[in-house]
Structure formats: C-alpha cells, structure tokens
Symmetry: C2
Subunit: 353 residues, 2 copies
C-alpha cells in the first residue's frame, strides 16, 4: 500500500522532542514534530503532505467555523520495549470517520489516505510514542470545510489533517456521574452517532452545570422521556447487573465506541453474557435497590475504562464500592495487555507501523 499514496514529505530540521517533559503529558496539549495535511478540491483529495506541525491560514468566512462541517477521530498508538509501534484498531475509526462524513455531507477519505497516511506520519514521529505504561500516542484525524462563502450549503473544499499528541495516563479516579434530566445531546434522526464538532460544543453547558453540583460528567438520556440511557459524552456506558453486561444499543443517537466494541468482545470471550439493548434509568435504580447492580463503568479511547463510584438520578444517589468492580478491572487489564503487546493479539486489533 505504501507506494500507492503519493505523499510529499518535508521534515523539520530540529526535533522538539528533547524539550518534552515525559513526566508531564496532559491530554492533547503537546503535538509531535509533523502533521499530515491533504486538500479536497474538484472532487478529489490532493496535495497530500507530511510537514512540520504548524498553524493554518483560514479565511474569516471559512464555512466550518460558520456552518459546522467538521468531524474527527481519536485513536491511540503504542510502542513496546522491542521498539515496535502499533495502532489500536485504526480501521474501526476509519469506517466511523466516513460514516460521520456521510452524515455531515462531507467527502469520504480513502483507506490509503487515512490508514497509510497515519502509518507514514507515525513512522516519522515514532520516537514520540511514550514507552511508559499507561502512556500512548494519541492520534487525531480531523476534516473540516474550507469554502469561504456564506451561503449555507455543503462546502466544495475540505482539509484533512492528522495530528499526533503524546499523552500520559488519564487520571483514572472513579467518577461521579449525574443522569441528565433536562438537556439533550442527541435525538433520533439527528447527528449523535456522527463524531462531529457540534455534538461536543452542545454538551459543554450541561457538563458545566453538573460539575457545579460536584459531578464529573452527565449521563445522557433520550430526548423524549429522559429515561433511556445513551452515553457519557466522551464515553459509552456499561452496567453489570446480576453478572450480565448491559450497554445501550446504538441506534443513531449514540457514538459507536471502539473501546465499547472491544470490551464486548473481551467479555464474551471470558464467558460473560453481554446485552446491547435499551436500558432505562429505572431499571438501573431498581437493580441498585435490589442489590443486583454489580458494576458501572465508562468506556472510551482516552480513559479506556472509567469506574463510576456515584450515579445520581433525581433524588436517588447510588454509591458503588469500585474496589468490587472485578470485571471492569479484568477487561481494562486485558485491553492494556493487548495494547502494550504483553499478550498475544488474538483478535488482530494491533496494526503494526
């Protein structure tokens, strides 16, 4: 595949890597020496280049800023002690990126541009992949509209970028989550399943209001009854009730998380029954009251598995002793072993760079 993609590579003269403090890597704050950039013009992706990470010149009338055609992905790469580097399930993100593009009336990208472009870029900045446990290289593909006229219509031109950010461990303290009773993230027929910029901006006010009440995030519910559970904004949600793993089925309101899908596969493999179906907050409260709610956790690329120690719904505050969350911790451990190359990649999830 390498020869198919014509990439113009211009490298930096002196790497910034030596200035990076490996012990202080907040999520998505520092970027590697290079980025990949491509332009969509006249119906095709052109000018594919890997070049020094740098600001972009955009018009004040840039249509992504005005009309929100902007989608992204989040992926992680790891390096093992043999110096080999791997990307975790990039094809899943490639497929999801193009689904997001379709919904937002944006052009798709080819496998060559997305996967091979990413591989080539990481190859060049390979030394930036942190070696330490729980560290990784976060990969951020982004596509946004670049037309510069104010008529509301799909842009005819776009920019595709891949940027890389070395990240430290997500401080995985157990979370306090409030079930959202007023605000809505996504309704059927909307854009909830699409990883587009607008979904995030719309979520910030409810998240801020929850934080003011002492909660880390909200658990989104359906727009009709605020009863059927959706996701936690940056994570999917899972419950273990009576030993069975239950996570909301996707529909078009919930992001199809790659970590969620990986968790389901691992759980099934270790003999735990899994159900993807509608689950209401009432069912969760009832299980909690009966003592059959065993574990509650979030699943996402950034934090992998986030244990939830408190879940609030109206006047009910449910407390959990996360030290009993054996299943969540077992899955997290297994996922990390696969990602860091410590056990055999029996699912074929690791894409070698």
């Amino acid at each position: 595949m390498t020869d198919v993609l014509d990439i113009n590579v211009s490298k930096i003269t002196a790497s910034k890597l030596k200035h990076l403090r490996q012990e202080d890597l907040p999520f998505g704050k520092y970027f590697t020496d290079h980025m990949l950039e491509a332009d969509f013009e006249n119906g095709e992706w052109r000018n594919i280049e890997i070049k020094p990470y740098q600001p972009l010149l955009i018009e004040p009338s840039n249509s992504a800023l005005h009309y929100g055609q902007a989608i992204f992905e989040g992926i992680k790469a790891f390096r093992n002690h043999d110096g080999e580097a791997y990307i975790f399930r990039p094809y899943e993100n490639f497929i999801r990126f193009n689904l997001s593009a379709q919904r937002m009336c944006m052009p798709e990208v080819s496998e060559e541009l997305f996967i091979e472009g990413m591989r080539r870029l990481i190859e060049i900045d390979k030394e930036w992949i942190p070696l330490k446990n729980d560290h990784s290289l976060y990969i951020r593909p982004l596509m946004f509209a670049t037309d510069s006229a104010l008529g509301v219509k799909p842009s005819e031109t776009y920019k595709f970028l891949i940027m890389l950010s070395p990240v430290g461990p997500f401080h995985a303290v157990p979370m306090k989550i409030a079930v959202e009773e007023h605000y809505t993230r996504a309704a059927p027929g909307g854009v909830g399943f699409s990883k587009n910029a607008g979904n995030y901006g719309g979520s910030m006010l409810p998240a801020m209001l929850a934080r003011k009440q002492g909660y880390d995030q909200v658990l989104w519910t359906d727009a009709f009854e605020h009863k059927w559970l959706q996701e936690v904004g940056m994570m999917n949600i899972g419950f273990i009730i009576n030993g069975v793993f239950i996570t909301p089925d996707l529909g078009d309101t919930i992001l199809n998380g790659v970590t969620r899908s990986s968790v389901i596969t691992i759980l099934q493999d270790i003999g735990i029954k899994t159900e993807e179906r509608r689950i209401s907050i009432d069912e969760v409260v009832e299980a909690y009251n009966k003592g059959t709610l065993n574990e509650v956790f979030g699943m996402g690329t950034a934090a992998v598995i986030s244990l939830i120690k408190e879940l609030k719904y109206k006047n009910t505050v449910m407390h959990f002793d996360t030290s009993n969350f054996t299943t969540a911790l077992k899955v997290k451990h297994k996922l990390n072993e696969i990602r860091h190359g410590l056990i055999k990649d029996k699912y074929g999830w690791m894409f070698k760079i």
Copy 2:
C-alpha cells in the same frame, strides 16, 4: 458610546470596491475592505481592532474546529439616497448572539463591542452598502473558540469577528418545501434555538436529499412524532389559515428570527390576528383540503419573505397559487419600505450609522 470602545483602526491603502461588479453579488461571496477582530483572553475582550479583511492563523488543534464552539449572526444594513446608512434591528441580534453564547458555554460580548464595533466598521466601509433596491450590506458577526488543546472543555480564549458582505437580491422565486419525516434538526433540551455552527452542518444531508427529490428545502418537524412544525432551516415558517397568521411558538428548538418577530408586529398593526402556538402538519393538510389555507411563507434575514408554492408531506402534495398571497406580499413590501427608508420607521427598528 463611541468614546467608550477603544478600537485600533488600521485601514487598507487601496479599496477593492472599484473591482466589485454591483450587478453580480451572490450571497456572502464578496467581503468589504475591513473587518473587526477582538480576542477574549483572561476573562475579557481585548485587542479590538478594525483592520484589512484578511485570513487568520489558527492552530490545527483549534478547539472550534474540533468541538464546535462557534456561533454567528446575520444582520442587514441599508443606505438610502440621501447617503444615510441604517442597520435593521441590530439589538435583537445582539441579544440572540449572547443567548447563543450562553448555551454554547462561550463568553458574552458587550453592547459596545457588538453594536458600536459594528457601527464603526460599517462607517468605514459605508461606500460598500449597495444603493440598489433589494440590495443590502450583509453583516456577519462570528465568535469561535481558539484554545489549542484537545481536552473536551470550554475554551478559555475566543475570537470575535465582524465581516461585511454586499449582497444582491435573493432570487425570490416561490419555493418547493418537503416536510421532513425522518431527520431531526433539534429536540427539546438541545441547541436548536442557538445560532451555532453545528445546527447547520447537521441540516445539510436532509436538505440535499430533499433537493434530489426536487425540493428546495425541508420543513423541520419535532423529533418525537415528526408532526409538529418547527422551521425551514434558514427561515421561520408562517401560515395564513382562515385569515389568521399562525407560526410555531419558539420553545428551545426554533431560532427566534428577527424577521419573524418583525412580521408579527406588522401583521398585528395592519389588523391581522396572529398566533404563536404549536401547529401540526395534520392541521395544515386539513386546512388545505378544506380550502382555508390561504398562504404559506418563510421569514428570514437573507430572503426576507419567501413564498412557498408547494408543500409535500408523505403522499400529499399541496400546491399554492402564490399570486394570491396578498398578505405575505403586503408585509414584505412594508418591511422593505422601512428598511430602505421609504416610509416612517414607526417601530424604531432602523439603527442609524
């Protein structure tokens, strides 16, 4: 108010105006010589300047492109033959802009920055306001996040811009509209009332699918039953049934249109009963079948009043003879007379520059 706002003005050396072909002014394609720019940092708006219209340098990790904190407004300015220039109801847009900002967790702008900044900018580029009938200067305030880190949270820095675009007449041919039965623009608790970028990107696919079936736009319906009418994406919708004007009440799913509000005021003034309330497509079809559906039209800043000649819902196609739309045309005429200074501005809508 002029002295309150400290604006640094740097003017172009040679105006582009002489190159502008006044007979060809597509919506939002050409921009005037100058723009206003301000930065939000450390909790306040700073670096307010009017400067030559030019591209911006932004980081690849710009948080508006990734997480959608971006809002805008659309306003029009007019010039009469005495050379006086006026902005149409800018305070309404100022209020709405700050409501949009609140919902998107963005800082508000002051009246000085928004109104006085706009006034000063237009004063400088006053010669760009077209004199011809149905022409105007379209004013586009924009605010977007400028933090450059990938953690999902409200940005701490923002840019506020005002750009100006001379526009010709919106080709006001009567429209064909399809009632949306699957896709959703906005649900209660969401961001439908907020003029943020994401609302527009999410609307493009349904609009494109409608165009493929020969319709100009979709009429959005509620997310639950796809039955209660909302808006037409870039316009509010109004019906005259049995001589009474009916437009959907706003709630939090519908944009609070300034043209909509102006139309209601004028209609009441000329003795037509107006109702802002829930209206279902079933009521519209029933009125059509009974022969009591007199007029259907859209209301928005770009097109002012757009007559609708066809409305499709499922297998029902409703045809209208728009030459009978006397009320819509009367209101449009009155609005245009006010905007172009041809009749007395009894409502105090015209803000003198």
